[in-house]
């Protein structure tokens, strides 16, 4: 797999959630995703950006245009250095939330994308990687 282009967007304040959505939208349009795939990915990005801010105390989003087997895709990596998640299975359950979130962030985001990967270490932070292929 090849990373063709990349960009990092900091997630420090609430308006950065909108920034992540806007940039994600630009990238999906440039890659030529269909409207449904585009909307799903942007919505997943919005959920994960909010998670990184509210639960992770802020972090960043790495956006990468990727290529593999003649296909184009967009991969987003959300990194925070917050308290981490002790029980990932529980965190992926709908309705489960520790903070002011609605409890649909992680599980919902997972359902909206082709690939979903999460790593978390208590007291070290969380890294969520999602990808959508065209």
């Amino acid at each position: 797999m090849l990373v063709a282009e990349s960009e990092t967007i900091p997630i420090q304040v609430e308006s950065d959630i909108v920034l992540v959505r806007r940039h994600c939208r630009e990238w999906t349009m440039r890659i030529g995703f269909g409207l449904v795939e585009q909307t799903k990915l942007i919505t997943a990005a919005s959920e994960l950006a909010r998670n990184a801010l509210l639960h992770g105390g802020g972090g960043e989003c790495l956006m990468e245009r990727i290529e593999a087997n003649g296909r184009n895709g967009l991969r987003l990596t959300f990194i925070d250095r917050g308290a981490g998640i002790t029980d990932i299975d529980q965190a992926l359950t709908d309705g489960w939330s520790t903070g002011s979130g609605m409890g649909f962030g992680l599980g919902g985001a997972k359902r909206l994308v082709n690939e979903f990967h999460i790593e978390s270490q208590p007291q070290q932070g969380t890294r969520v990687i999602i990808a959508q292929w065209k």
Partner: protein, 122 residues
Amino acid sequence: MTANRIPIMQVGASLLVSIQIELDDQTALQLQDDLTQRVSESGARGILLDVSSVWMIDSFIGRTISDTAAMARLLGAETVVVGVKPEVAITLVELGVPLRGVRTALNMDCAMELLESITSGS
């Protein structure tokens, strides 16, 4: 972060709101406050919320819309959401936020008809 204010218009016994800007969390919450206040002050019976220009509704915005409709109902007003884009509808259901408790209409004609039956109903 300061919230943007979305204008609320009153026509008869209804409040009309068209979301023409990108909704950040604070703006969504501000609209919730403003609408609840206006329903209480005006005694409006119906709210028409036009989301035909909204290209993304995530769980926070979706929940805020559901909550606003529930608050308005407690004050005696029904909310009709009009113009949800197909891709937004698909995404909301898969996300697990199907806007329960909110009436919806495909277009403005259907919404006005529904609103009329709500506000003139006994």
